[in-house]
């Protein structure tokens, strides 16, 4: 690793962000709307990637962190009339507390047990959102009024019901998280996580408190996913139990593995790919799920390490 490759890496990421910014002006309304969703969901995927790709921990319960952000932001906004910034912060706080508690417990297990334990904690969270139906309205959910989803900065009013504003907010969030993740994985912390993934026992005998490092990874991952959830709720104005279900734990796993685990841009690629494959297939036929399934098998046969993962392995070794 030298100065030249570092510059190349940062240039690549800034170029991607610039391209996305340009797309905000050039894309037709429909696709811009789709991309707003993709960008926020890609943040979710990036949070998941930190744990799966870089730390090697496969969780089947990340929907609970996304939903913690979603409800953490949506409930105060809806019931207590909080402003947007405060609600967003509340979503982040909810995600970090949940991640700390769940991590402290779940990290006592490894491998498949970890998968099941995280899945069960997520199931508890999901059932809890259904149980407190007076506040959450369960599956039906809450619609957040457009009037509440605005921020006034002096004379300027940013309304999240406006598609153009929505896209820009999504892009800002995505860019911030992308660059933070890039910095993290190239910092000592990132190297530590990679070592734990490769040989945790050896890391212990090299002086690393691996439990603390893994807990840190879970909390950072949880906060990022909660940020995605809070943003999603505030941007699209809907909060519902569906986002806490197992489906939203499988989706980020899929996005990360398809895009390329342990790559910084893989989550974006995977999310965009899946969203568009579903979009395209459902336009073709009502049996679109079958096409999606076939696409998944096709991708995994030809890109066994995910799209960017295989690209990195075969051609661009310097890709972070």
């Amino acid at each position: 690793m030298n100065g030249a490759s570092t510059a190349r890496i940062w240039l690549l990421h800034l170029a991607v962000i610039a391209a996305l910014a340009a797309a905000g002006f050039l894309l037709p309304d429909y696709h811009r709307g789709v991309f707003s969703r993709i960008l926020v969901l890609a943040v979710f995927a990036m949070g998941y990637n930190l744990l799966l790709g870089y730390c090697g921990l496969l969780s089947l319960g990340h929907a609970m962190f996304f939903a913690a952000g979603l409800y953490g932001a949506g409930l105060p906004l809806y019931h207590l009339g909080w402003g947007m910034p405060a609600s967003f912060a509340a979503g982040l706080a909810a995600g970090s507390v949940l991640a700390l508690v769940v991590g402290a417990l779940a990290l006592r297990t490894v491998g498949v047990a970890f998968m099941i334990v995280t899945m069960m904690f997520a199931q508890v969270f999901y059932l809890t959102t259904l149980y407190f139906t007076t506040w959450t309205r369960g599956e039906e959910g809450l619609v957040l009024p457009p009037a509440a989803r605005r921020v006034e900065l002096g004379d300027v009013v940013l309304s999240l019901s406006d598609p153009a504003t929505r896209y820009m907010v999504a892009l800002v969030l995505f860019s911030a998280v992308l660059l933070v993740c890039l910095k993290l994985v190239r910092a000592p912390f990132g190297r530590t996580l990679a070592g734990i993934r490769e040989n945790e026992e050896r890391m212990r005998m090299l002086g690393y408190d691996t439990f603390r490092a893994k807990l840190g990874a879970v909390v950072v991952s949880g906060v990022i996913c909660a940020a995605a959830g809070a943003a999603y709720g505030l941007m699209f104005g809907y909060v519902g139990s569906g986002f806490a279900s197992i489906q939203y734990s499988i989706l980020p796993l899929l996005w990360v593995l398809v895009g390329g685990a342990a790559t910084t841009l893989g989550p974006l690629v995977g999310t965009a790919f899946m969203v568009y494959v579903i979009d395209y297939a459902s336009g073709l036929t009502t049996a679109w799920l079958m096409l999606v399934g076939a696409a998944l098998i096709f991708v995994v046969l030809f890109f066994p390490k995910g799209i960017l993962g295989t690209v990195r392995e075969r051609w661009l070794k310097w890709l972070p």
Partner: protein, 294 residues
Amino acid sequence: MGFGPLLLLALLEGLVTAALLALMALGLSLVFGVMRVVNVAHGEFFMLGAVLAWVVSTAFAGHPAIGFIAALLVAPLAVGAVAYLAERLVLKRLNYDPEATIVATIGLLYIIQQLALTVYGADARPVQPPFNIRIQLPWFGYSGYKLFVIAAAILLLLGAWFVLARTRAGLVMRATQYDAETAQAFGIPVGRVYAYVFALGAMLAALAAVLIVPVSQAHYLMGRDPLLLSFVVVIIGGLGSLRGTVVAALLIGLSDGIISTLFFSPTLAKILATLLVALVLVFRPQGLFGTAAR
């Protein structure tokens, strides 16, 4: 009904659930134990078994028992064939890489689920039980067929234990599970073992489905809950332990029966039960009968 008889009813219902869970979890445990892969489509093999059971049994006019027996023979074999094909065409090419297998089996899940939706439809359809005897207990009448399901499951599990513990085929499977490389060095065709184990796992799930479908209904989404539950059973029971799988299936099946029969707010009960199971795993990660890591 007093509390005692209600409890008995709950236990009987729980035993039925436990019977199915044990069969399904056994299939999953074999696949995961021998091949070390997570088959996310396991629930869809279950659903496919149920749907095929409906197709076969409605094709036979006359006494429902004939259709049922036909379904019992045809459905597992057909599902096993599907699984065998999937293994040879896809999983083998991926070299059983754990993460790639997850993606591939999710794709398989989507394909099978959509196929069922397109061909079979979104409706839940009942299947006639082979016989309609009601056992009259002092407090309530209970379906004789459900008792048959419990008995059948016990027989099948005993058969599975016999095959695994006492036959050559079982020895080959256990050897491959223990150490695939060494097994191969001893001339065991590991690739073919994997294909048959994958098919066998799917067949067990389909068998469980054919048994249960006369008392529930065949629906294209019915694979999801059993998938999650059988995973939990496999891990709680401890990987590689048939006894553990059965005990865990009993525990989870019975508590599920008690919760759904006795509790008016099943959601809160489910929350507490799930939390309890999760905490058991947290403080005893090897499950009930698995071997603890040092």
